[in-house]
């Protein structure tokens, strides 16, 4: 048999690569695969607080009671919560913000999410948002938090109960780390031979080891697909809109919690104001029993099930969420 130098077999593919290499874009270029953030696009609405630049928008009369929407994740953004703009027509000055380092807010260094004070930084940001928009101490402040956002809202209430006049909490995973870990174990379950598994992880062989946040954020879009795959545990009926996954924020805050844990419940028994606690009918990892367990540290709880929706109830089940929330908020307004 004729001896063939092995490299000959690679010359043609290598030549092809050289030919089109000049046409290729760098995946780390700002705006190429994920939207530009507020520091990269000055047309986006933003406020500078607490040493960062946050993507923020408001609706309604600034003198009305404040309703601050706190999105999930960590590492999510408020785009899927925007149906709550309707609350502006009901007499609430409705405030949306993308948390530090995620959504269209400015990217921040990994170190901000790694230290012992990382979660406190997120609590402080929420406090700064409230202080920025609150015109007088008598102006009431309500929080509406979804998932991680409901956990963050609870962390805030735990520290500053006197500042909050009421809260709508939609499926916080848990209010302590062991509780959250338990929920994540059940909600992130993926079958080993399912399409959802390769939808989530197969693309990781294409994107690996380039640490620019633009690439990590883009890559996170693929991993996040499992939660909306057919048959998903948390009851989402399809994809929901988002701007950018904050991959660095998400990974670092989860690792931080695994390392340090957290407990947002120590002072909750002193918070006598009624909270509205929402859970969804279709989220098989949540259900009423888990809702009762998570809500237990609050002394005064109104528990409501949102029918025909899963975990992303503020997007897929907004009408029911509003129908449950408005009477509650008006009662405390």
């Amino acid at each position: 048999m004729k001896n063939l130098p092995p490299m000959k077999y690679f010359l043609f593919p290598a030549l092809l690569l050289c030919l089109f290499s000049c046409q290729m874009e760098d995946p780390g270029s700002p705006g190429l695969l994920v939207p530009k953030t507020v520091d990269q696009d000055p047309t986006l609405p933003a406020i500078a607080i607490n040493g960062t630049l946050l993507h923020v928008e408001t609706h309604g009369k600034p003198t009305d009671p404040l309703l601050v929407l706190v999105h999930g994740g960590p590492g999510g953004d408020y785009r899927s919560l925007l149906k709550a703009k309707a609350m502006a027509n009901e007499g609430f000055f409705t405030i949306f913000y993308d948390q530090r380092g995620t959504g269209l807010s400015k990217r921040e260094d990994l170190s901000q999410f790694q230290g012992a004070g990382a979660i406190q930084l997120m609590v402080d940001d929420l406090g700064e948002i409230i202080r920025h928009f609150q015109l007088a101490d008598t102006q009431k402040v309500f929080l509406m938090g979804h998932s991680w956002g409901a956990m963050l809202a609870t962390a805030y209430i735990n520290q500053f109960p006197e500042q909050i006049s009421g809260a709508v909490l939609a499926e916080p995973g848990g209010l302590t780390w062991p509780q959250t870990e338990d929920y994540l174990d059940r909600s992130n379950h993926i079958k080993l031979f399912s399409e959802a598994l390769n939808d989530a992880v197969y693309a990781e062989q294409f994107f690996a080891g380039r640490d620019e946040q633009e690439i990590l954020d883009y890559k996170a879009s693929f991993f996040g697909s499992f939660e909306n795959a057919p048959g998903n545990t948390i009851g989402n009926i399809g994809p929901y809109p988002f701007w950018r996954n904050g991959a660095v924020s998400f990974n670092a805050l989860i690792e931080n919690a695994e390392t340090r844990g957290f407990d947002f419940t120590q002072n909750l028994p002193a918070f006598q104001t009624k909270i509205l606690f929402l859970y969804s009918e279709l989220n098989r990892a949540y259900q009423r029993s888990w809702a009762e367990k998570v809500a237990a540290p609050y002394p005064n709880v109104q528990l409501e099930e949102i029918k025909d929706a899963g975990h992303e109830m503020l997007y897929f089940g907004w009408d029911q969420v509003m129908a449950a929330s408005l009477p509650y908020l008006n009662e405390l307004k």
Binding site: S194, D199, F206, A208
Partner: protein, 218 residues
Amino acid sequence: MKKTIFISAMLALIFTPMKAQNLHYQMSSGHNHFLAAKFGADYGTVIGLSYGQRITSAKPTFLTVESSIPFGHKLLDDWKMRLAVESELWKTRHFSFTLKPGFIVRRYDTDIARLLNIGADLTTSFGYFNAKWLFAIEANYDQSLSTHIKHHSLQENYPDIYNGWIGPAGANLKFGAQAGYAFGKNFLSIKAGKVYARSFQDNPTLPFYFEITCLRLW
């Protein structure tokens, strides 16, 4: 930092003498073709088929074409094809060192986007063998060279998103071990190991690979 240094030191120790040895070269003597079927975990649970043909007899060298697809109800939306040259570069009576450069084309398609990727990889292995058994350690470097992207739902989220070719988006490293048993013209092997991103920071969600291979020579 300590973790990175430790991993780098381990790499330095094991990278020099190693690969992904699918063949038992002693048993391949006198045969010019092989067909192999595999099942394993490689960024998902996968099944695959490979064909190899001897291309030179000076040093045992096979040209191989490998294909694999992950499980799931959409069978051909994601796949990987690899053209490689596997060559035994050095051997003694019981030890063998092989090198396997490869050219990779792979596809990923979901409701989010379709990715068509071109990459290149290099696998080295170093192992002990006798008439029946093979034990080897291996290392693989897999470089993503270029990816063509066509977005679906991500385009709805971000209308200005780029569609087209992007440049190198990173690389993965695999480090593992293999054990194999030869009987007649057949070779059964099992391999497993760890997968890292090139930076050792952005490591894959499934941080390991695993493979059972049945191979027949003729």
